[in-house]
Every structure is written in structure tokens, then in C-alpha cells.
């Protein structure tokens, strides 16, 4: 199958040295931490952006920060590209390796090191899954707020790499707003601690820069994250509308009225059909668009908020309103939403876009999205975080049909350009990865990108960390892996 997205040319010299490199890595790691057999490497050849696959040279699964440091220093000394990896749930190809690259996976570093309630912080290793933090502190009345759909599997390390969000970020913010500190291994194997339990850190905001840097600035091995007191209760309510436009306008009005629910999720008709068939969540089937609005607090608080939200929804001609009457019902409503990607995957191949637009542009972008999809003769299901304008059109296609695959990618690109042109951005929470790399110039000027790349080079002068990602392959600055001569731009 022909591919729309190019990878950098793998460094033949590194590949030729494979046996020696493997022997060296074995000397740096305890037994059971190095994977080199082709059969065992296959699970690491892609992430959740499955259209693209590349076999890595080897995979290492260190157990300590010191081991990560030893491997990273070795790779830097020998100009071997490194691909940091959490659970491999990236939707943008952020963890896809290449033939000359070593994958450093943090999955074995999965311990919660410290829970500190008086300071509302938890210190965890990077391979801890997102949900396990909330599970650990649940009984004591706390939780960790960012909740990506993949939270059962995805790691905190990966969340930091992509500045992950989730449905409940409308109220609590994304990873960067809930991250207090990291321990990070730099390109040369040195280890730095940034931030901690204090609310702000000294000097430049390196923590803010590292969060969402897609594994290009270093490898995070430990994180200190914010814990928040759990609300007394939470209640999702379903609102069904006869048009997407009415639902979109309702979202804008709820936010504009001064009410910030914990979450406002949007599903269009195709998404409702897909999720209902899978989860039997009790979604209304006679509407064109659905909002899941979740409020939280005590019963009295939730009643007060819902009363106002319902009043606004009525103004927009809401057709059905369904309040969850029990914890089971509430869980079911969320099960439908959170299984959207999985449920879609059962009926078709799909790629999930992640553009974010200003709230006032929601209806316009939805309309234009369906025009684009029609033009390519494809199907789309829209399911997304409406409260913060983070769109997730799922473009359905048949991966066995090369032409349709290509069309899906092209339609995706058109949709993302649409989001940027509407005043938004290419990606709200999934990251650029390889998927949106070549669209970066649509959002940024060469000058903007050159400034970002210069900052990147301050952390990784040889560009060994996740080198095929985020920045267009041409016009890069500094020495690039695989190009001994090096190219200099801007």
C-alpha cells in the first residue's frame, strides 16, 4: 500500500551494526529487559495509528531511571534514534518506530511511589496507567482528573508526552494543568528533576514545555501529579436534538451562561448508532445529535445546575432529556461514550481526527466536515468534547482498499486544515506524531517552526529522540539522524 506520510530515511550504518548494538544493550540491562526477536518485536511496530508500521531495531524495557539513562546515553553517543513508548495507544503515530531505532518502553516502571494527601500529590513512575492513580486514591476520596478514553491502558508517561485530555477536562484541565513535576532523563543520560510539590516552579516553565513535547525533549521516568478531592456525586444527562446545529448552539449557550459542567460530550447520529449497538447505553435513537452533559456535587448542587442547563436546552428545542437515575445508569451512559472508538473499530477501520475549534465555530465546522466527507464518498461519525471545541470526527474506511485508505487520510487532512482556518488547531489532545506532521506549516510559519526546532535542539542536539515526529522532515535545523552531513535551515 502506498503511504501518504513519509518517514525519514533509516540510517543504514546503524542497521548494519545491529548485532553489535544488541550486544551492547544487553550489557546495560538486566535479563528480560531487551527484546530482539522479530516475533516479539511485532507488537511494537505501531501504536493506535495502525495504518503505519515499522519494525524497530530493538526494544528495551528498563526497570529503573538509571537503566533508561544508560541506554539513552549509549544511543546518543552512537547516534541511534530512540522512540519513547508508554502503552502504545497514540492515535497520531507518536510511538511508531523505525528500522534504525531503539524503542525505550516504560511499561515495567509501573509503581505508585508516594501518595501525599495533605499536599494533594502523587508521585508515580512513568509506566503507571492513567486509571490506576485514581483507583489507588479512590477510597480516600481523591482522583486524578485527566481521563483519556484509553485510560485503562495508557500510561502517565505517554499522557505527559501528548498532554492528554479527556472528557472531564472541561472543568479540570488537561495533563499540563495537573502535572506538578517530572524526573526526566536527558539525551546524554543526565537526570533532572523539574518541579515538585510546590505549586509553581522556579525559572523558565520547563515543565510546561516538556508536557506535550511528544518524547522529543527527554524521557520522563517519574511524575508528580495533582490529586483532587472527588465530588460527592456526578450525574450525566442525555439531551437529544433534531439537528447537530441545535446541539452545537446549545453547547455555546451553556458555556456562555456561566455554567461550566464537568463534561459536555457530543455525538452525531452515526456515532449514536454505533455506540448504542455496542454498549446498549439507552441512547435515544430518534435524534440527530446527542449531548452528554455531566454535572457534579451534592444532590442539591446538581439539581440547581441541571435546572439551568435544561432551561437552556429547551430554548434550543431539545427533543429528549434523560437523567440517569442510578450509578449503574450513569456508568452505562459513559460506557457508550468511552467505547466509541472501540465500537467504531468493530464495524469499520477508522482514523480519528483531533482538531480543536473556537466554540462559536462548532456548527460551521460540523457542516463543512460532512461536505468534505461527502466529496470523498466516505462516512464519518462525530463524537467529541464539545465543551472545549475538541472535535473527533471518526472517518470510516476499509483498510483493505488502498484507494479508500488514501481518501480517508486526504479527507482527514482537509478537515484539519478546516479546523485551523476556522481559528483552531490541528490537535487538541492526541499530538502531532507523524499523522499531522506535514500539516504543521498550515498552522505555523517556517519562522514559528524554526523557533520551536531551535528549542528542541537545546534539549536534543543530535535529534535522536523521536526524530520522525512533529516537525516536517524538510527544513529541519541541525544534524539529523541518518544524514551524516547534516542539514542546516533557518
Amino acid at each position: 500500500m502506498s503511504e501518504l506520510i513519509a518517514f525519514r530515511e533509516p540510517d543504514r550504518a546503524v542497521i548494519d551494526r545491529r548485532p553489535a548494538i544488541i550486544a551492547d544493550l544487553a550489557g546495560l540491562l538486566p535479563e528480560g529487559c531487551l527484546i530482539t526477536e522479530e516475533r516479539e518485536l511485532v507488537p511494537f511496530d505501531t501504536d493506535a495509528f495502525v495504518s503505519y508500521r515499522r519494525m524497530p531495531l530493538a526494544v528495551v524495557l528498563p526497570e529503573t531511571t538509571a537503566q533508561v539513562a544508560a541506554v539513552l546515553k549509549y544511543c546518543n553517543d552512537n547516534a541511534i534514534p530512540v522512540i519513547p513508548r508508554g502503552a502504545g495507544t497514540s492515535l497520531s503515530g507518536g510511538a511508531i518506530p523505525q528500522e534504525d531505532a531503539i524503542v525505550i518502553g516504560v511499561s515495567k516502571m509501573n509503581r505508585i511511589l508516594e501518595v501525599d494527601y495533605p499536599n494533594r500529590a502523587a508521585r508515580v513512575q512513568a509506566g503507571v496507567t492513567n486509571i490506576s492513580i485514581s483507583q489507588e486514591v479512590d477510597a480516600d476520596g481523591f482522583f486524578y482528573a485527566p481521563d483519556p478514553s484509553s485510560q485503562l491502558a495508557c500510561t502517565i508517561g505517554g499522557n505527559i508526552g501528548m498532554n492528554s485530555g479527556g472528557a472531564h477536562c472541561l472543568k479540570y484541565g488537561v495533563t499540563t494543568n495537573n502535572l506538578m513535576g517530572v524526573r526526566m532523563v536527558m539525551f546524554d543520560g543526565s537526570v533532572v528533576d523539574i518541579g515538585g510539590k510546590a505549586l509553581d516552579s522556579a525559572g523558565y516553565d520547563l515543565l510546561g514545555l516538556i508536557c506535550g513535547s511528544e518524547g522529543q525533549l527527554g524521557i520522563v521516568t517519574e511524575a508528580t501529579v495533582r490529586l483532587i478531592a472527588k465530588p460527592e456525586g456526578a450525574r450525566p444527562v442525555l439531551f437529544g436534538f433534531e439537528s447537530s446545529v441545535a446541539a452545537g448552539a446549545c453547547v455555546t449557550d451553556i458555556i456562555g451562561s456561566g455554567i461550566i459542567p464537568v463534561a459536555i460530550e457530543f455525538m452525531d447520529k452515526p456515532a449514536i448508532d454505533i455506540c448504542e449497538a455496542f454498549a446498549h447505553a439507552g441512547y435515544p435513537m430518534d435524534v440527530e445529535a446527542l449531548l452528554i452533559v455531566e454535572v457534579e456535587g451534592s444532590d442539591a448542587e446538581m439539581d440547581a445546575m441541571l435546572e439551568r442547563i435544561i432551561e437552556i436546552a429547551r430554548r434550543h428545542g431539545v427533543k429528549t432529556i434523560k437523567e440517569s437515575q442510578s450509578a449503574t445508569e450513569a456508568a452505562l451512559i459513559w460506557k457508550g461514550r468511552k467505547s466509541a472508538f472501540g465500537a467504531t473499530g468493530r464495524i469499520a477501520d477508522y482514523i480519528c481526527m483531533d482538531g480543536t475549534v473556537p466554540l462559536g465555530q462548532l456548527s460551521y465546522v460540523l457542516e463543512k466536515t460532512s461536505e468534505i466527507i461527502d466529496r470523498y464518498g466516505l462516512r464519518v461519525a462525530n463524537v467529541f468534547h464539545a465543551g472545549d471545541g475538541n472535535m473527533h470526527p471518526l472517518i470510516l474506511f476499509d483498510a483493505n482498499d488502498p484507494e479508500e485508505s488514501m481518501k480517508a487520510e486526504m479527507a482527514g487532512n482537509d478537515i484539519l486544515k478546516l479546523c485551523v482556518d476556522a481559528g483552531g488547531c490541528l490537535t487538541g489532545e492526541h499530538g502531532v506524531g507523524i499523522e499531522k506532521r506535514d500539516l504543521m506549516r498550515h498552522q505555523y510559519s517556517d519562522r514559528d517552526l524554526a523557533q520551536q526546532m531551535r528549542v528542541r535542539a537545546a534539549f536534543d542536539p543530535q535529534w535522536i529522540l523521536n526524530p520522525s515526529k512533529v516537525f516536517p522532515l524538510d527544513g529541519r535545523n541541525g544534524t539529523q539522524p541518518g544524514s551524516k552531513a547534516g542539514k542546516t535551515a533557518a
Partner: protein
């Protein structure tokens, strides 16, 4: 500084031209907005000065999108007035440094973000940096750069927005900022607990933050400062104050629960309306240490449970006065005479880390004592490399944060 003529560019292009020329000649420029925080930070040795105070105006504001864009020199007062018309606010509650620093002039929105200036609501709503969505700036080579945008969630490329926030004009001259705004809470009230010592107060605040009542401000005012806020209206000794905000019925429910819990710890009172607003403004603006005094003042950021331990340790060695915001994690420390930088920073380290900024001191002291917390060597080296990538000739506010950076 006073002998240097200040240039007031009115467009982004003019800033770029001025910076380009300075870069070409290698002449440092002091960067400012309204100049209200010039007394904070290391004195900048510069041949010329640039103020964005005439680069003004709100450029984009649709209240229903909860986002505003404004040129960097727009007065904070103008921003807040425009928001108030729509019953909105800057949720991070930026403090006004003027009373503490004895400064005059108008704080600008660019200055607020360049200094990452936040207030009491930081514990629930994040700092200025958490609310900054996009920037346009001129780097040290005179290039106009943008980063971020006007949407709530954005992970498109490296987050230079965060890096610019709190960089005190050393990485770029901000020309435009785009930030989140939020509706003003319908109701706001304060639960006061009187009679707690510093350690008991830290426990009480931690307990309040562990409850699901959404405390949006948690401060402790020891006996020595309590009379200096809210017009001296707080009586009954040291006061631990907890703010609740939101929809009226919701605040009522939460307030009942919080009063019940705090009633077991001390005498509880409820402060509402203007009295509550005045109290939090005074806490925000460090009213207890404002005025004619020139005694050194530190702004210390530590883990919330470490704040009172730091003060207790310092009291054994030297004369200090202190009060606490951010659940105890933000300590405002007024020193009797010497800033005692070594002692303050040594104890912070011993208590698990954090940092101290010498917010008020005379220029000679600020030139001699590191105003901002010195960084561990690898991080300082990294910061220098970052500075070089924005400002290769080192002309933007050189030395404002760290000597030589």
C-alpha cells in the same frame, strides 16, 4: 535606568524593527509594559528601553467563547472592565504588585503573563500560565513568532506559550496574548476559623481541600498580620480563611458542610459580600507588608504542608513576619532586616524543595542576592541554552532573572 530613553512602539512591526537593530548592534534593551514590576527582579543593565504600553487594544473577544485576545500593552484595568460588562473575569486573579513595591503606573496584560502573576484562586483555577492559550512575540533576533492559539486545548507542536509565561521579557517581547476567561461566580463567601496556630491552620486547610466543597481560596493570617487586612475587621486572633464560590444553592450546601467540619477546629464565622471581596484582594496584594516599609519581602513557593515549618525554622534564627496563601504553599515572608537569602533557601531545600523570590529589596541588594531561586547546574545550563535559542545576542532584559541569562 532613569537616564535611558524609553521607546514606545505602537505596532508589532515596530517592536521587531527596534529589536532587530538592537540585536545587530548587540546593545541590550530593557523590556517593560506599564513598568509596575520594574522593582522586582535583578536590575537590568541596558543601553535602551522598550515599553509595550502603547501597543494596546482588545483584538478579539466573544464572551460566549470564554476567550479574549489583547495586545500586550493593554492595561489590565481595561481588560477587567471589558470582562465585567459581560460578568466575566480572569480566573487566575492576578495580584497587583503596586502596593507592595510602592510602584505607580498601570499594569498591562502582557506584564501579567510575562511575570506569570497569579492570585489566591491559583489553587483551584491554575496560574496565569494555565490560562494563557496563545502568544505573539518578537524574539531576540527581531523575528515575529506565534505559538498556541485561541482554543482551549492545543498540543500542536512545542508549547512555547508556557515558556514565555513567567520569562520576564528575557525570551521575547510579547506583542499579543490570548487567554481564557470565565464567568464571575454568582456568589462568593468566606468561612473564617479563628484561633489556630500556623501548624493547626495548615492541617485545617489541608482538610478543607480534601473535602468535596471546592475551596477556591485558602489562606492563614497569623496574629501579627490579621489586623492589616479587610480594614481590621477580622477579630479573635489568627484567622484561617476559606473561600467558596459558585451558584448560590451550591455555595449554601458546601458552606454548611465546611462550617460543620471547621467548627470542630475553632470559632467559625462567615464573611460575605464586599467584606469577603476586600479580604481576598488584600491577601492577593500582600497588603500586610505593603506601605512605606522597605523591609525585604520574599515570595516563597513550597509544598503546602512545608510552609509553616519553614517559618517556624526561620523564627529560631532571625526576625520574620509571615502569612500564607495557597493552602500554605505560598508564603509571604517579611524579614526584619537582612534578606537572609542563604538561610531561607537552605531551609526550603531541607523541607523538600520549592523556591524563593526576593520580591522587595533595594536595587543594591537585588544586584547582589539572586532574586530568583538559583537553579541546579544542569537546569541552569538548559535554561541558558533555551535563552540562546530565543535571544542569541543576549539583548532582551539581560540578567533580569539570572546573572548572565
Amino acid at each position: 535606568m532613569s537616564a535611558v530613553e524609553i521607546q514606545y512602539p505602537e505596532t508589532e512591526e515596530e517592536i521587531a524593527r527596534i529589536v532587530s537593530e538592537a540585536s545587530a548592534s548587540g546593545q541590550p534593551i530593557a523590556i517593560s509594559g506599564g513598568g509596575t514590576k520594574l522593582g522586582l527582579g535583578r536590575p537590568v543593565q541596558a543601553a535602551s528601553a522598550l515599553s509595550v504600553a502603547k501597543l494596546t487594544g482588545i483584538t478579539n473577544y466573544d464572551p460566549s467563547e470564554l476567550v479574549m485576545a489583547a495586545r500586550a500593552g493593554t492595561p489590565l484595568a481595561e481588560i477587567e472592565a471589558a470582562l465585567a460588562v459581560n460578568n466575566q473575569m480572569l480566573t487566575f486573579e492576578p495580584m497587583d504588585y503596586r502596593p507592595l513595591l510602592g510602584a505607580s503606573g498601570e499594569p498591562t496584560i502582557g506584564g501579567v503573563f510575562a511575570g506569570n502573576v497569579s492570585g489566591p484562586r491559583r489553587i483551584s483555577a491554575g496560574a496565569a500560565r494555565d490560562n494563557l492559550l496563545g502568544v505573539r512575540f518578537v524574539n531576540g533576533s527581531g523575528e515575529i513568532i506565534k505559538s498556541g492559539g485561541r482554543v482551549m486545548k492545543n498540543v500542536t507542536g512545542l508549547d512555547l506559550v508556557k515558556l514565555l509565561a513567567g520569562s520576564w521579557g528575557t525570551l521575547g517581547v510579547l506583542s499579543e496574548v490570548i487567554f481564557k476567561v470565565l464567568p464571575k461566580p454568582e456568589t462568593s463567601l468566606t468561612i473564617g476559623v479563628s484561633g489556630l496556630n500556623d501548624a493547626e491552620a495548615a492541617e485545617a486547610m489541608a482538610a478543607a481541600l480534601a473535602m468535596s466543597v471546592e475551596v477556591s481560596g485558602a489562606a492563614h493570617l497569623p496574629e501579627s498580620v490579621v489586623g492589616k487586612v479587610a480594614g481590621g475587621s477580622l477579630t479573635g486572633g489568627p484567622a484561617t480563611v476559606l473561600r467558596l464560590e459558585g451558584l448560590k444553592p451550591s455555595v449554601e450546601v458546601r458552606s454548611e458542610r465546611l462550617v460543620a467540619e471547621m467548627g470542630r477546629r475553632g470559632t467559625v464565622s462567615v464573611i460575605d459580600g464586599q467584606a469577603s471581596a476586600d479580604l481576598w484582594r488584600d491577601i492577593r496584594d500582600v497588603k500586610p507588608f505593603a506601605g512605606a516599609s522597605t523591609k525585604p519581602v520574599w515570595r516563597v513557593s513550597v509544598a503546602p504542608s512545608a510552609g509553616h515549618q519553614l517559618v517556624a525554622a526561620l523564627r529560631l534564627k532571625t526576625g520574620v513576619d509571615a502569612y500564607y496563601d495557597w493552602q500554605g504553599g505560598l508564603v509571604w515572608l517579611q524579614m526584619e532586616a537582612d534578606p537572609e537569602a542563604g538561610l531561607v533557601r537552605q531551609y526550603i531545600k531541607a523541607l523538600g524543595g520549592g523556591h524563593a523570590t526576593l520580591v522587595r529589596a533595594d536595587a543594591a541588594t537585588r544586584a547582589a542576592v539572586p532574586v530568583f531561586e538559583p537553579q541546579p547546574a544542569p537546569l541552569e545550563a538548559l535554561s541558558r541554552r533555551i535563552k540562546d535559542q530565543f535571544d542569541p545576542n543576549g539583548i532582551l532584559n539581560p540578567g533580569r532573572m539570572t546573572a548572565g541569562v
